[in-house]
């Protein structure tokens, strides 16, 4: 009996040691950026011995970076003090707009593909899904000139439209598989009770499909928030530059005020981290559909 307890203790020790190594690998860079963001410059740039825990933690870097804009070491600053705020605003608008549109569209389309028999429905489904492996890059060149000719360059609307189009296939697939797994009887019962289709979708289907819709919403939000290439190409002023693009502008060619850079970075990664910790299950399911069922 005791031998068994010893073995179990050894096993746990080994597992926790391995877990520690994994955690250090996964989290150390994040830990360091957080520490950097609350350190003052003197402590941060100390060498060769670094201050792993700041002695005088400060939130001044956050205040500075939000009100004064990025300051370079020599004292110069970017022309627009509020670039970071406008970046956060733009990204929030685009990410929320895209996720909302995608959720609604994919629920309706997913319902249509899962339940309704309409002409050429199989063909339409493949038409949508075919685009999934298509790298965005093949469309970009002409998409740029399309958006330009519509006069929509450097607007949040153009980004919402493009991201909604891009997230549609995966979202529709996720919703149609999700809705297929919901028992049909409830919907049929409510239709027999005299509800029309729109009432049925709103009051019966939506609540039942809510976990699926949540997945779609969160994954779309995360992907849009994290995107870089598309905003880099389609935006050029603070009217629509996303937070990731703004961040890339913060790195000067020769010098960087690292403690402020760190504060700006922390502001950018807080939402994804919160989402990941709170809604892990929904996110992982959304991000790995297609991979597992494909």
């Amino acid at each position: 009996m005791r031998r068994r307890a010893v073995r179990e203790a050894l096993r746990l020790t080994a597992l926790y040691a391995a877990s520690l190594v994994v955690l250090v690998w996964a989290l150390l860079p994040v830990f360091w950026i957080v520490v950097s963001s609350i350190s003052n410059r003197i402590e941060l740039l100390s060498r060769p011995f670094k201050h792993w825990i700041p002695h005088e933690p400060t939130l001044q870097n956050f205040v500075d970076v939000l009100t004064k804009g990025q300051q370079f070491r020599a004292g110069g600053s970017l022309p627009t003090a509020t670039l970071l705020i406008s970046g956060l605003r733009n990204t929030l608008i685009v990410a929320l707009g895209t996720s909302l549109i995608t959720s609604v569209l994919s629920t309706l389309a997913g319902y249509a593909f899962a339940r309704l028999r309409f002409r050429l429905s199989g063909l339409w489904f493949w038409f949508i899904m075919l685009m999934m492996p298509l790298p965005i890059w093949t469309t970009l060149v002409s998409l740029y000139y399309l958006i330009a000719s519509l006069g929509l360059l450097d607007t949040n609307i153009s980004l919402v439209i493009i991201f909604a189009a891009l997230s549609a296939p995966l979202a529709i697939w996720l919703m149609s598989t999700y809705i297929r797994e919901i028992p049909r009887e409830l919907e049929e019962a409510s239709l027999i009770d005299g509800a029309n289709r729109r009432q049925m979708i709103l009051s019966i289907l939506t609540p039942l499909a809510l976990p699926g819709i949540t997945s779609v919403f969160l994954v779309t939000f995360l992907n849009t928030w994290n995107a870089f290439l598309l905003p880099l190409i389609f935006t050029n002023t603070d009217r629509s530059q996303s937070i990731t693009v703004v961040l890339s502008l913060f790195v000067g060619q020769y010098e960087v005020a690292w403690e402020q850079m760190a504060a700006a970075t922390v502001l950018v990664i807080i939402p994804p981290i919160l989402l990941a910790l709170v809604f892990q299950r929904f996110l992982v399911r959304g991000l790995t559909t297609g991979a597992v069922k494909g």
Partner: protein
């Protein structure tokens, strides 16, 4: 059907137009001199030393990423497949890097690897492993290796999750039978776990191949020089960065479109290869 309309206008139409443009010599610096060159752009790319250099470099990054990611993902999946208190927390924390914007990951590591004030230097120095600070990103070979490492850090959670799902679907009876037969842990790993995991590994490899083949964000902020006005670092120019340069810096649309389709072709070819050789064979067995 709004999604169909949306996709037609904003994805298919541009994709087809790009395809057509790839057969012309369209160059925005000389827009009037536009004529049809058929496969000329493809020929020009394929005979350019720079194209092969960039492709080779990209494949080198891909190879490093795939090997390290698969091994790492496998080991972490094995760990997460064990039952112990705190496993849920570990799983939640391990996927964090995957959730962060890849662009930010370039910055994070750029700062960690900083040669004057970086955390890696500080850590190694304080542990007594080095006696002076290094500039980690100084030479071209190192830049490629670090780019591969950062890409690995960004993406390793995906193969981990896929393989974990694969591990959990292996029937327990197989292991019980192996126990009865007296197979040791290594034999069980070789004879049961790895073969049963092959479909998951194939899926992970395919997705990760495409993702690292089209690496852009990480390279852009780790070693390419950062903001849009800067010179592109030639030593870490990958296919996507090359394509960006041809289209949006040099404004050679015809050539850039052809390059985009070459990249698509190579991705599809590799995807087909992985699915055929790994997935199909694993499933047949």
């Amino acid at each position: 059907m709004i999604p169909v309309a949306l996709l037609s206008v904003f994805i298919y139409y541009p994709a087809i137009r790009t395809f057509l443009v790839s057969f012309t010599s369209l160059d925005l610096r000389a827009p009037l001199n536009n004529h049809i060159v058929l496969l000329g752009n493809y020929g020009r790319l394929l005979t350019r030393p720079e194209f092969w250099q960039v492709t080779g470099r990209t494949l080198l990054i891909v190879a490093m990423v795939l090997v390290v990611e698969t091994l790492l993902g496998f080991l972490i999946a094995l760990l997460l497949n064990q039952k112990f208190p705190g496993r849920g927390v570990l799983r939640a924390l391990v996927i964090l890097p995957w959730m962060l914007p890849p662009v930010v990951n370039g910055f994070l590591w750029n700062w960690v690897l900083n040669g004057e004030y970086g955390a890696l230097d500080g850590l190694l120095y304080q542990l007594g492993l080095i006696d002076s600070y290094h500039f980690w990103l100084q030479n071209p070979g190192a830049q490629l290796r670090w780019a591969a490492l950062v890409q690995t850090w960004t993406r390793f959670a995906f193969p981990t999750i896929i393989m974990l799902a694969g591990l959990q679907s292996i029937p327990r009876e197989l292991y019980q039978v192996a126990d009865v037969d007296g197979a040791g842990p290594i034999a069980r790993l070789r004879r049961i776990t790895v073969p049963m995991l092959m479909p998951s590994i194939a899926v992970a490899l395919t997705v990760e191949f495409i993702s690292s083949f089209q690496i852009f964000d990480v390279v852009w902020t780790l070693t390419s020089g950062g903001n849009a006005g800067n010179v592109i670092n030639p030593f870490t120019k990958t296919l996507m960065v090359y394509n960006y340069q041809v289209v949006f810096r040099d404004l050679k649309l015809g050539l850039g479109s052809a390059l985009a389709y070459l990249i698509l072709l190579m991705s599809l070819g590799a995807g087909y290869f992985f699915v055929r050789s790994l997935y199909a064979r694993a499933v047949e067995r």
